[in-house]
């Protein structure tokens, strides 16, 4: 019997199985220094593999409800797999250690 959810959903299921970690970075526009830090952090995540880690930049003002639901209390924060992981931007080493820990879990 064919899967009633269709081929499209099967594709997403396979994709979800491959993508191990979802990273969401909350920020606002207008902070040049924060943008540089974010770019460095993004490069770390990307270096660990696009198939393992996804990276989404979220403008906190566009997604205020979502930010509040996650417990974000400052303009820069990082959520991993739908939970607040860092209440401010972490250092490169801290993020790398966290992602490595989760990948090996």
């Amino acid at each position: 019997m064919p899967d009633p959810r269709g081929i499209g959903n099967q594709y997403y299921e396979i994709r979800e199985r491959c993508v191990v970690i979802q990273t969401e970075v909350f920020s606002t526009s207008g902070c040049g220094e924060c943008a540089k830090v974010r770019a460095r952090l993004k490069a770390i995540a990307e270096a660990m593999g696009h198939d393992k880690i996804t990276w989404h930049d979220i403008n906190i003002l566009d997604e205020m409800d979502y930010a509040v639901a996650l417990g974000v209390m400052s303009v820069s924060a990082v959520a991993i797999d739908g939970r607040l992981a860092f209440s401010s931007l972490p250092s490169a080493d801290t993020l790398r250690a966290e992602l490595t820990k989760r990948l090996s879990a």
Binding site: G30, C31, M64, V68, M73, S74, V75
Partner: protein, 141 residues
């Protein structure tokens, strides 16, 4: 120069409030007379308006002091102030969310009390609150 009474009257705050702002480091008299009466410049009125407006936006006096420090500092930019405002908005949104949950809990309690003629000892609202406390204390929650 303005006396504390004149500043209070023109700014629409009490004399005690002005003394409190001074104690909190938000406002200083331009000078004191020999008899130690405080005297203020017109700028004090602008400062008090600033404090009141910031309080209307939910800022505490400690946060207002930080805003004023940002204003004075050379290193700060408008974006720093914007970030403080966004953080405050997040804080307010959290409070709104919590209060909505509390309001919903009250709606549910009001909903279970469908008989207004019941005596106080059979009040389902009080009973539900009592049960909640028991559950909480026994670690069911």
């Amino acid at each position: 120069m303005l006396t504390i009474g004149k500043v209070a009257a023109r700014a629409g705050v009490s004399i005690d409030a002005i003394r409190f702002y001074e104690k909190e480091g938000l406002l200083r008299p331009a000078q004191k007379t020999e008899a130690r009466y405080r005297l203020y410049e017109e700028a004090a009125l602008r400062r008090i308006r600033f404090i009141k407006q910031a309080q209307h936006c939910g800022f505490t006096l400690a946060e207002i002091r930080k805003l004023l420090e940002l204003e004075k500092g050379d290193a700060a930019s408008c974006n720093d102030v914007r970030n403080v405002a966004i953080a405050k908005k997040l804080q307010l949104e959290h409070k709104i969310k919590t209060m909505k949950i509390m309001s919903q809990a009250l709606s549910e309690l009001i909903g279970i009390c469908d008989d207004e003629t019941k005596p106080i000892e059979e009040c389902p609202i009080l009973e539900a609150l009592e049960t909640s406390i028991t559950k909480y204390e026994s670690g069911v929650w």
